[in-house]
Symmetry: C2
């Protein structure tokens, strides 16, 4: 019997596929660019080719459904869950695409499970990352979008439609900026990279005031994430982006610093609300903006201290995500490999 799981991480810029063994080791990882503007068939073919290539390299391509113990998939939302019909925001070629059913036809007889990409990142941090050992954790990603996943009582919380964990739409300022969701003052509207960058530009920020090779000035906070390879909602832009802001802030740009303070405080307020409501031990924060390190985490923690005042809430630890670009694959695999904790259906 195969022990390893086929892990798939589907985003607007990249598809990633790997085998993941029961201890969480990622093997034979391969990545390809998402076909730009690809229609449903082109996207599916890209995925099939990538899967075939991974299985071939591992010498499992002729084993049929016996090749793997199961398939775990993280994909950008929205999607129906647990059915796994996906309509990723930044991949118009897939609208109601039956991703789970298609993969299940390809791998009959083994579990095939699809969940939101941000949920998979949270699962990865809980299973093998910075949230290990916590029973009550929120895993966050702060990048082009702000997303997350909730672990309560040691188990992944799905919510009624698989959408629990949307920390990006906790309201931090009812009269704040409009949000992509149609609401107003959501955390994401304030703290997502492009929103924050737009705010900074309005204040007069000139992207690039800090040099791109300002490496040593970027605080070594958590493990470097080469690419926030976490689906369309969490992919950084390259110009006036959150990552660019973080670099410029590290180089001393005052407006960039103010922007990180603004984002950090919004994060602290939203985290306080989540901690007060869910009685959390740990919050992990990953994604491009988290690379700013203390410049983001200090205002975050200050706002959290102001708004999480009850005894139980003060114990929460907010820590940078520990896993790098494989996090999405690790979390997707955990849907199968650690199903007792991360899969409820």
């Amino acid at each position: 019997m195969p022990q390893s799981v086929l892990a798939v991480d589907i985003g607007g810029t990249k598809f990633a596929v790997a085998l993941v063994d029961p201890t969480g080791n990622v093997q034979e990882a391969r990545r390809v660019a998402t076909p730009p503007g690809g229609d449903a068939a082109a996207l599916w073919e890209t995925l099939v080719d990538l899967v075939g290539s991974v299985l071939r390299t591992a010498g499992r391509d002729d084993l049929g459904s016996g090749a793997v113990a199961g398939v775990g998939v993280g994909c950008g939302g929205p999607m129906t869950w647990p059915e796994g019909e996906v309509s990723p925001l930044n991949m118009p070629g897939w609208r109601g695409f039956p991703l789970r059913a298609r993969l299940a036809s390809r791998f009959p007889g083994v579990p095939v499970r699809v969940h939101n990409d941000a949920v998979c990142l949270a699962v990865a941090e809980h299973w093998r990352g910075a949230g290990r050992g916590s029973a009550d954790m929120l895993g966050m990603v702060v990048s082009t979008g702000v997303g997350g996943g909730l672990i309560l009582g040691g188990r992944l919380i799905d919510g009624g439609s698989g959408n629990a964990g949307h920390i990006g739409h906790v309201v931090v300022d009812p009269d704040g900026p409009e949000c992509r969701c149609g609401g107003r003052g959501c955390l994401e509207a304030v703290a997502r990279g492009p929103g924050l960058a737009a705010w900074a530009v309005e204040q007069g920020w000139v992207p690039g005031s800090g040099q791109p090779d300002a490496g040593p000035d970027v605080p070594p906070y958590g493990e470097a994430v080469a690419e926030p390879d976490t689906g369309p909602d969490y992919v950084e832009e390259t110009t006036a982006s959150g990552r660019r802001l973080a670099l410029d802030a590290a180089a001393g740009d005052e407006i960039a610093l103010a922007a990180l303070d603004r984002a950090g405080r919004a994060l602290g307020v939203a985290i306080a609300s989540a901690v007060n409501l869910c009685d959390l031990d740990v919050v992990t924060v990953g994604g491009g903006l988290s690379q700013a390190g203390p410049l983001l985490f200090e205002p975050l923690r200050a706002a959290l201290r102001e708004h999480a005042r009850m005894g139980f809430a003060r114990r929460v630890r907010v820590v940078p995500a520990a896993l790098g670009q494989d996090a999405g694959l690790v979390g997707a695999a955990a849907l199968v490999l650690a199903a007792d904790r991360y899969w409820s259906r």
Copy 2:
């Protein structure tokens, strides 16, 4: 074997004790006033007498621990959980009082379980009230305090320290009024009866502008709750209270109406945050202020619509709590009678 559970509801104004059968029927309920300023021994003695009286009436007083199948207790917080050492805010006589251990000595060999009173109210609404059949529910009480309990995946969520469900400390306005918790802009700071009444008085409200016998004008929303008999944190004051505000608003007082609008909107914002984070089906709202009916629920639903915009979030139903003054007893009993859903330890 006895089937019924001894249910205990301990609040700052009243102690209630009853037997509750496996279907949730409350029998032999008795209530006494909490001894004002009572020390630890006086409070305990009051409880023991009340328990004895209930058991005697039921003809079970000489059965020892065989008298009941278990003991469920709702008590005002804070407390250590699941240890059940209680320090109810409004009962200074009990500080770190080992309520669970004391009751366990009195009833050896059967489960004795203590949880927060607001959690018990949410459990009651889920088990036998307005949230029946929902897998993902927030049960709220809006009164002198604003509290609640979370049911996710069909099970009570405790959080790491038994404090999950503190919806009253979700932040609705980071620059809002100071909260009793030490924070700022919590839902409770805006929407709890006394805070709201204080705000109305500041605006020129004269309590009693609507007559107390304005009965027919009070919208018949949900079942009437004779007394918000739900622990110290949720007991109404009698003068410039939320209940008074609700009556005056029903009689057309403009400032009282504005106050209910203010509270309703704050509730809607906090509920939107909870729904976005936890992917809820149903939110039940009870407590004195909920008696205001549409005057509260309409601004609540308007704000909720503005801030819960994602497809999954729009399905949530916000409904008045259905159970009356026995809710606390029903929920306490459910900790034992439906432990598979409501007790995790």
